[in-house]
Symmetry: C2
Subunit: 397 residues, 2 copies
């Protein structure tokens, strides 16, 4: 018999995907350039030319067995060394290759992190607004994801609600900063307070509460914003990283788990990731992509377009009277809708070919997300549509 | 707390890996060319030049976003179409893209197949001798792998033992033909008899018993051997394929699940694979590798060396008096050891720098595996060592 839980999931279509499909269909009618498609978080800038050049160089000069052979189960040793050295250089923690496990993107990294520290029935807490894929990512492991309601003032952490929900069943906390969908970066003050609570509660409950940090947007931080390293605040932390956004390589499935060097059993945990892989059928990211990424380890794609787009949108939105926390990074912005039901609001926006995603599935009803990883020229053209939409649909404001 | 089941696995080291590490260490002493390392199933021939050329061409001419963008969750549509067309052409079953799910190698494909059709507590049967990684692959999903003892006469299926073990708890059968470690190809007669039993028992138990077929060695079949397509014999079958061996790309993690077009709910099953991925953190094989493999879909690396090596070894082994089923494919051979305990036998062989793997972990104690995916020149030199080993250690024979 087919397994019912997966069969049941077939009927539940992601809102983001539905909207993206609408945008594509509408694009066929009026030209996709005229659809202001803010639905998908797909990087819009190219991978650095250096990456492409390195790939071609390797393919032209190296023996196929060197490029395409099996990766050791924890990842290619030299690549793990390169990543550890880069993390140490940047964040000051004594990372070594023994702390690094190569994973197929952030999704792969998180799949390992969750299995490392939770058994079926355990709870993981995350903070709204949050990336809705965390639901299946966690719940399909048998653990349970619980959502701490948002602090809508600034999208930092709602500590009051958090402390209420932090029961003995909670084995891990999942944070995502810079945050999808709010674009907000957690401040040092937020992270310190979070760490203090986790230390106290770990002692009280007699078990470690791990801090899992999903960091695919780490390199997309805007001018003047301080983006502190989560792992620097708490020893029992697990960093999950992806090169998808920083290098614009989302399809190549490359990222890593970095266990905090000060974590108890750090090296065992990396080895355990290698065991977890045997059950998930993951068995390392592609060898050639591991090798190529190591060659451009401290580079990023030209990410400046995201900040340009953010400023255009933020200025227009606030001028139009939207309540909006200014993003510190990512390529998302998460304003408050102009009526209570953001789904109705976003439905109305479609008439103006503005594809906005209601905040409900992000755990923050009444808000909406715009993914501005699109050309600046299109963002500029969308501002008129936005003005028209607001003026016509919400004339009282 | 760290999850104990994964922590416990750290102490259990794979015999194959231990032997491979011995070979590497010994190689540092006497030169690796002098170690007759038959431990690992790592392809020894290069990927076809056409693959490398296509990769370079794509990297040189295509837009990065086209090459490195997110793959749809079931795989790139055009790639799935290419694979379906190739399968239909070759095996005569009406495969369409709707039956194909792209997976990260056979391990990834199997991880999806197991989750499709088993819940924790269900049983999967496989036939000894078998690839030992099936144990963690299955057992870490919560289902249970049970091993049907071998038919040592010809390493086809031991049907008597099979029918005894085929209880109502069995939801799937896992076959691997051409087989690792025996090199044996299941005959049409074997597959027909297996299918007949499964049909009868599915009806009797009132639930489908699925046939999962792990086929990474499908393209390595020797002259005069008929290698029938497993799926042609049984509608409720799931093909798991990897390009690792056929194209010598084991590190690039590329393969697929092909649901039998005649299977009930075939299309749903493919969509369910996309849901399963969300829990395993898999999210598709690398985009650029999907695209490149589709360009060389009906090619293989030059696999002829494996047959040359097989003949050299088979002739020498039988001449030396070994009982040995002649392989029909793969790059493995699985002779009977010259004493009851194959572990002792293989231990003695190490003195002659012959690295052989005892059959115990393959579910066939008393046998040993040789992986002859090495240079023919080395196989030839190893024959003298083999003769010396047998003559000195087993003089009575």
């Amino acid at each position: 018999m087919l397994v019912q839980k997966y069969k049941d999931m077939l009927s539940g279509k992601s809102v983001i995907r539905q909207l993206s499909e609408f945008a594509t269909a509408r694009g066929k009618e009026i030209g996709y350039e005229n659809v202001f498609d803010y639905s998908l978080g797909n990087p819009s800038v190219p991978v650095p030319q250096e990456f492409t050049d390195k790939m071609i160089e390797m393919l032209s000069t190296k023996a196929p067995s060197e490029l395409h052979g099996y990766s050791p189960s924890l990842g290619i040793t030299a690549v793990r060394e390169t990543i550890a050295a880069s993390l140490e250089r940047r964040f000051g923690l004594p990372y070594r290759k023994e702390h690094i496990f190569m994973a197929s993107g952030a999704a792969g990294a998180l799949a390992h992190a969750f299995r490392l520290v939770t058994e079926p029935g355990d709870e993981i807490l995350t903070f709204a607004p949050f990336f809705p894929e965390y639901n299946p990512y966690v719940n399909l492991t048998g653990a349970q994801l619980k959502i701490v309601p948002p602090n809508t003032e600034n999208f930092q952490i709602n500590f009051e609600a958090f402390e209420e929900m932090l029961s003995e069943k909670v084995m891990a906390i999942l944070v995502n900063t810079p945050n999808n969908p709010s674009g907000v970066v957690y401040s040092a003050e937020t992270l310190q307070r979070l760490a203090d609570i986790l230390k106290k509660k770990s002692e009280e409950y007699g078990h470690i509460i791990y801090l899992i940090s999903d960091e695919p947007y780490r390199e997309i931080v805007f001018e003047g914003v301080d983006a502190p390293c989560v792992s620097a605040f708490y020893d029992n932390s697990i960093m999950c990283y992806s090169f998808s956004k920083s290098l614009s390589l989302p399809g190549e499935r490359i990222g890593y788990v970095a266990i905090n060097p000060n974590c108890a059993d750090a090296e065992d945990m990396v080895n355990m990731c290698g065991q977890i892989s045997r059950g998930t059928g993951h068995n390392c990211p592609p060898s050639i992509i591991q090798l190529a990424v190591a060659e451009v380890i401290d580079m990023t794609a030209d990410l400046s377009v995201y900040e340009t787009n953010m400023n255009l949108l933020y200025n227009e939105l606030t001028a139009l009277g939207f309540t909006c926390v200014k993003p510190g990074g990512t390529f998302y912005i998460f304003p408050k809708a102009l009526e209570e039901d953001a789904k109705v609001f976003c439905e109305k926006a479609l008439k103006y070919d503005l594809v906005l995603v209601p905040g409900d599935s992000f755990g923050a009803p009444g808000y909406f997300r715009m993914a501005y990883c699109i050309d600046t020229e299109k963002v500029e053209r969308s501002l008129a549509a936005l003005r028209k939409f607001v003026t016509e649909e919400y004339p009282q404001r």
